[in-house]
Amino acid sequence: MSPPPSHQLPGRQPGPSENGGLRVARGLLSSPGSLRRLAFVGVLGGAALLWSGCLIPVPGDPIDPLPDARNRPPRIEESNVTPFDRIVQLDPANGCVLQLGLPVSDPDLDDVITVRWFVDFNARPVEGEPQDTSFSETLLLPTGREDRGSASLTLRTNTPGSRLAPLGTHLVEAYVSDGRLQVVNENGVLVVRPLPREVDVDGGVIDPNYVVSYAWFVVTPSGCPGVGSNP
């Protein structure tokens, strides 16, 4: 049985000292008859507990209420990622087509999942070059269940501008987030980060979004269509 989604978890409830518990006690103590009945019941109850060997709890601090529900990260179902091998050799026998499939799930049922695809992502671009060179982006809408289906992508070597066309090994990455993704420059290095879900007034992150990633190494041999030597 899966846990309830975060938005269904109970929020912070008022403690006993904040609600009507004390008012009820004062009401019970307000009349002498009530006081006698209460004392009798108390003695009887205490004797019963002692007879049964129970310890009588000592009144202390109220139990802390449940914390606010926090975001939980999405998950890549790695058991059924396609292709399953991390190192993929493109094969001229099928035209060097690469079909990628990434099953994703998220315990927070209302979250929209963003999957951003990169091919040979350059984390250290020279100045003036575009900083977000993602190939494409896929959104996975809530399905009412944890599983969101698969983000899929088809890459070929013979499409104009194919990033798999140069001979050799390429890195294909998928970044999966339950928030909007952004590419930020941190001291000259590009990093893929999700925008936070909730930010404090001082800029601190109260509730973050998460990102998980998956990568394949794809080898393009010389027999693939559209492939040639690089001067």
Binding site: S79, P92, P130
Partner: protein, 553 residues
């Protein structure tokens, strides 16, 4: 199963009328492409109980298939199921492992009396590569690989069900790659027997690759290919960087003759100082050294320019590269570069033959500017193309409509995936597009091509799909082209539940975490493909539930 979707005359006539109206309005009719106009444009044109698909009116319950992936990590790959109809309960019984097994032997021998003695099981390292497609769901590519040491010639590679071309390559470089075709059906363990050529029939062909008679100082790949099919007839070899020497191994026929081959020579280093060269009609002779002369090293030429969209805005992040036919007959493709924040690009290429340089410019997805090719002659001096103005892509507005009220649905995710080229002389689009519908649908800028459009909506809503042909933009138009308006109609859904069960021996058990994809097969004019109708994952007890689109009542 897999009968074609029925067509009726009335929708076709209406489609012709629509085509005529479109032409009279100055729109480019997609009938110029190989896929023609769809035989219907809305469900209202179809018979009761049918819906409008890319290839005509059809029954939503027909041409259905499902892909079930139990657990690839455990070696249980995808298995396909086809059905005539899908009821409210649909269970899947998968086998623990669908696989290809086989044995690799050396060549058999035959004595004078005709008795054949099987060869010895091969001992050594092999690499097996399977590439193919699903036998049931067209357009679904499948692959499997194995690299292992054989001790008794036997191998097993778990693989998804499908139809494959297999290639087995031994670590012993003398043996050519073995190619075979095999179909792995769901629930089977296909068995093949492969035989290596007789060692006595193998011939070693010495060769040398040179530039103006001198070694290149770089290593090159030398690949012996079939002259027509371009299949490898022997294993690719690397030339020695210091001497240029290489040795090919080819199998002779029964008469001891060697086949004529094409030799493809490709530099392995980047930057290379020679293009890829193909030597045709090479007749190998073990007694002679093959001399492959590449000519003089070629200089690198700087090629630059600035990219602007049709409205004058600079285009940032476009992919730019050059394909060049060199004067000596070689071919080369430059490295891809991205245009910078000012729209400028600079790349390096070899000089070209007369009109032998083709520059490809591919703007990123979501841009209104479309890809373009420039053909010119690239000399030995730096070349600046100046400002290059790119044409428009086709603006396609997709609306999700309720067929009864005509109201547009907001917040639907629309995904357009390219599945085919629009015409034979046009390339397959590189990018698809994705967007979310607003009150007036979603606008996508698309290259000419055939796209699979998928509409995903909220929970408990069936996924909607159709195939869309996008024609080229007419170059004579001034300003942005008129929008191509397409609609996808909402449908009601029906729930299908079931269980995925492993048929393993001795126990039969439910499979948790299996991925199930219900698809519908689409028969286009020149090809077949599929659309995904629904997708889900089984829960801990192996059960699942999906919403399939169905015909409104």
């Amino acid at each position: 199963m897999n009968s074609r979707v029925r067509r009726s005359a009335a929708p076709t006539a209406l489609a012709l009328l629509v085509a005529g109206l479109s032409l009279s309005l100055g729109c480019t009719a997609p009938g110029g492409g190989p896929y023609g106009l769809p035989a219907c444009t809305s469900d209202a044109q179809c018979q009761p109980g049918e819906q409008c698909f890319s290839d005509g009116c059809g029954d939503l319950g027909g041409d259905l298939a499902a892909e079930v992936s139990p657990e690839a990590r455990a070696g249980q790959f995808a298995q396909d199921f086809a059905f005539e109809t899908v009821g409210p309960i649909q269970d899947f019984r998968v086998v623990p492992t669908t696989a290809l097994s086989g044995i690799l032997r050396s060549a058999s021998t035959e004595d004078d009396e005709g008795h054949v003695t099987p060869g010895q099981p091969y001992v050594g390292r092999v690499t097996l590569q399977l590439a193919g497609t699903s036998s049931v769901i067209p357009g679904l590519h499948r692959s499997a690989n194995l690299s292992t040491d054989l001790s008794d010639g036997r191998f097993t590679v778990p693989a998804p069900s499908g139809t494959y071309v297999g290639t087995l390559t031994t670590a012993d470089p003398r043996f050519p790659p073995l190619r075979f075709e095999v179909e792995i059906a769901p629930g089977t363990q296909e068995i093949i027997a492969l035989q290596l050529p007789d060692v006595e029939a193998l011939r070693e062909i010495p060769g040398r690759v040179a530039s103006l008679g001198l070694p290149l100082g770089q290593s090159l790949w030398v690949e012996p290919l079939h002259p027509e099919t371009m299949e490898l007839l022997g294993q690719p070899v690397r030339s020695d960087p210091l001497t240029g020497a290489f040795t090919l191994s080819l199998a002779s026929d029964a008469d001891g003759a060697l086949p004529a081959v094409r030799l493809r020579v490709t530099p392995t280093a980047t930057p290379a100082n020679h293009p890829t060269r193909v030597f045709d009609e090479v007749v190998p002779d073990p007694a002679e050294t093959l001399e492959l002369e590449l000519g003089a090293p070629l200089p690198q030429v700087r090629l630059s320019g600035t990219l602007r969209g049709p409205a004058g805005r600079v285009i940032v992040g476009a992919t730019v590269y050059a394909e060049v036919q060199t004067p000596g007959g070689g071919t080369s493709r430059s490295q891809s570069v991205q245009s910078d924040a000012e729209g400028r690009f600079t790349l390096h290429s070899f000089p070209s033959s007369d009109q032998g340089a083709r520059l490809w410019i591919v703007p990123p997805a979501r841009e209104a500017a479309g890809q373009t090719q420039l053909t010119f002659t690239l000399g030995a001096l730096p070349h600046d193309l100046g400002e290059v103005v790119l044409p428009y892509r086709m603006p396609v507005r997709i609306a999700v409509l309720d067929p009864e009220t005509g109201a547009q649905e907001e917040n639907a995710v629309v995904i357009a995936d390219p599945v085919a080229a629009y015409a034979e002389d046009l390339p397959l689009p590189t990018y698809g597009a994705e967007g979310i519908t607003l009150t007036d649908g979603v606008l996508m800028w698309l290259e000419p091509g055939v796209y699979r459009v998928s509409v995903r909506r909220g929970p408990q809503r069936p996924r909607l799909t159709r195939v869309l042909a996008v024609p080229p933009v007419q170059s004579s138009l001034e300003g942005p082209p008129p929008e191509q308006f397409e609609t996808v109609h909402t449908t009601v859904g029906r729930t299908v539940t079931g269980t995925v069960i492993s048929k393993g021996e001795p126990t039969t058990r439910p499979i948790a975490g299996a991925v199930i994809r219900y698809t519908r097969v689409l028969h286009l004019e020149h090809t077949s493909t599929h659309v995904v109708l629904a997708e889900t994952t089984t829960s801990e007890d192996g059960t699942y539930s999906v919403i399939l689109p169905t015909v409104p009542h």
